[in-house]
C-alpha cells in the first residue's frame, strides 16, 4: 500500500516537473521590402467555384497581414527535438473547397496519415510534385471518399491541380511534431519543449528558409523572430 502511494507521488512529481520545465519558443514572422502584388484569380472556367467567391480570391504565394506580418510560414524544430519518429495517430486533412486548398500549406509528420477531401462540385486531380518521395497523381471527382496517403521522407512538396491551374499548395513533411504555421499576425508558437538546445527553421515557399538557435533552460518562453526579405516579383 505504502509503496503504491510512494510510486504515485513520484509519478506525480515527474509529470509535474516535466510540465513545469516545458519551455516555449514563440515569435513573429515579418518581411521587409515590398512583396509582389498577388494577382486575382479568374475562376470563370469553373462557375461552381467562381460563385463561391463574391470577391475574387488572389494567389496565395505571399500572404501578408498588418505590420508587415508574413503568413503561411512553416516554423519547426529542425534539430534537438526529443520526440523524432513519433508518428501522430490522427490524420491531417487537406481540403479542396471553392477550387482552393485549405490550408494552403499543410505540415505533417513523416508517415502520418494524410487525408485529402473534395468538397467541390467539380473533379480535381491531386498532383503533389514530389521529388524525394514518390510522385503520384490521382483524380478525385465530386462525392468520392477521401484519398488516404502518407509520405515516408521529409520534403516540401508543391501540390497542384492540373485541371484548375491556379490551385497551388504545399505539403511540409517533417521529422518533428513541433511545428506551427504563421497566421494572420505572423505569430507562431512552439510549446512543450524540454530543456535543451534547438535549431528553429522557418520556411516560406517563395522567400526560402531561415534558422535560429535557441536554448531552453526551464519553464520559460524564448522570443525568436524571423524577418524575410520580400521579392519584388
Amino acid at each position: 500500500m505504502r509503496t503504491k502511494q510512494t510510486l504515485l507521488a513520484l509519478l506525480m512529481l515527474l509529470v509535474c516537473s516535466s510540465l513545469m520545465f516545458a519551455g516555449t519558443v514563440s515569435g513573429k514572422v515579418t518581411y521587409t521590402g515590398t512583396p509582389a502584388k498577388q494577382k486575382p484569380i479568374d475562376m470563370g472556367k469553373e462557375p461552381s467555384c467562381a460563385k463561391q467567391h463574391p470577391t475574387p480570391v488572389t494567389n496565395e504565394t505571399v500572404v501578408t497581414g498588418p505590420n508587415n506580418a508574413l503568413e503561411n510560414v512553416v516554423v519547426y524544430v529542425s534539430s534537438g527535438a526529443p520526440d523524432d519518429g513519433q508518428v501522430p495517430a490522427q490524420a491531417v486533412t487537406f481540403e479542396q473547397k471553392g477550387c482552393q486548398y485549405l490550408p494552403h500549406v499543410l505540415p505533417m509528420h513523416v508517415n502520418q496519415e494524410l487525408k485529402i477531401t473534395n468538397d467541390d462540385q467539380t473533379s480535381h486531380n491531386i498532383h503533389p510534385l514530389a521529388k524525394v518521395n514518390r510522385e503520384w497523381n490521382k483524380s478525385q471527382p465530386p462525392g468520392t471518399p477521401p484519398i488516404s496517403e502518407k509520405y515516408d521522407k521529409p520534403e516540401f512538396i508543391s501540390v497542384k491541380c492540373n485541371v484548375h491551374p491556379w490551385m497551388h499548395g504545399y505539403f511540409a513533411v517533417l521529422t518533428t511534431n513541433h511545428y506551427d504555421v504563421s497566421k494572420g499576425g505572423g505569430d507562431f508558437k512552439l510549446p512543450n519543449l524540454p530543456p535543451g538546445k534547438y535549431t528553429i527553421t522557418a520556411w516560406h515557399e517563395d522567400y526560402g528558409t531561415q534558422t535560429a538557435d535557441v536554448t531552453i533552460t526551464g519553464n520559460e518562453t524564448k522570443d525568436v523572430n524571423f524577418t524575410f526579405k520580400a521579392k519584388a516579383y
Binding site: 472556367k45 467539380t122 473533379s123 486531380n125 491531386i126 498532383h127 510534385l129 521529388k131 514518390r134 510522385e135 503520384w136 497523381n137 490521382k138 483524380s139 478525385q140 471527382p141 468520392t144 484519398i147 492540373n162 485541371v163 484548375h164 491551374p165
Partner: protein, 311 residues
Amino acid sequence: MRFIGAILFTATLGLVVAAGFPARASAQEAPDVGPTPRLVVKPMESHIGNVTGHAAAAKSDYRRYCAGCHGDLGDANGENAVWLDPKPRDFTIATFKCRSTPTGTLPTDEDLYNTIARGLTNSNMPIWNTFTKQQRADLVAYIKIFSPRWEKEKAGDPIKVPAEPPVTLESIAHGKALFTKLECWKCHGPAGKGDGPSAATLTDSKDNPIRPYNFALGKDDSRFKCGDTNQDIYKIFMTGVDGTPMPSFADVIQPNDAWDLVHFLRTLQINRHGKENEVLSAAHGVIPPYVDRNPAPTAAPADNKSPGGGQ
C-alpha cells in the same frame, strides 16, 4: 661563367614554369562537363520472360543509341534534348509514363521492355524493334543504374484488367456518361480533340507545356502513347501517366465501368475502323442518353433477404 649563367637561367625558368602551371593543370583535371561520364555501372538486372538483362552488357548500346537524347548520365540532358518536345525521359527521377502498375510506383521490367520496342507516339522516341530481345533486356537493366529507387523499391503490383465485355451501344452510352461525369473533357475536349478548357494551361512535372491526347487525329494507324490495344487504353486511365497532368482513376472507376469508357473513347477516333465505330454507325452515329438500370440502392433491397442464399 656563361655556363653557370645558363644553368641558373634554366633553373629559374623551370621554377617559374613549375609554379605557374600546376594551378591550371588541376583546374583541367575535373571538368564540369566532358565526354567521360562520372558514372558507376551498377550490376542491375532485368527479367523478361526467360531472358535476363545485365546493365553492363548495354553500356555501348546505351551510349550509341540512347545517350544522344537521354544523356550519358540518364538525366535527359543529351545533346539533342534541347531540340525535342516532349523532352526525353529523365531516368534519374525514375518516373515513367507507360506502366501496368499503380500511380507513384515503379514500372515492371516488361513495361519498360515494351516501351523500348513500341516507341512513344507523338514524341521523338522511335520504335526500337531492330534490337534483339537480349539487347532490349540489357537496356532495361541499364536504365536502372541512374536512380537509387531501383535498389530500394520493387515494381508496383500490376493492375488487374478483367476480360473485355462485348461492345454494345449501351456500353458506349455509359462510357460517354462517365467521360462527362469524370470530366475527361476538361482537358481532352467534348469531342476528344484535345481542346478542353484546361488544355492550354497544362504542364508536365518539369513545367514544360504538354498537350492532352487528341483522339480524333489519325485513321487506322492512330496510336496511343502506351500501346494501341483496348487493354492498353484501359491501363492508361487506371494507372495514370506519371509525370504528366493525366491522373489515375483507379480509385474512382469500377472495372466494368472502365471497359465502357474504353468503348466510348474508341468512338472518339472518328476515322478509325473498329468494332466500336461499327456499333455506333449501326445506330446512325447517335449515342443515346445513358439510363442507369442499377441505381445505387438507398436502402437494403426487400427481395434480397438471404444474403447467403443458394442460387
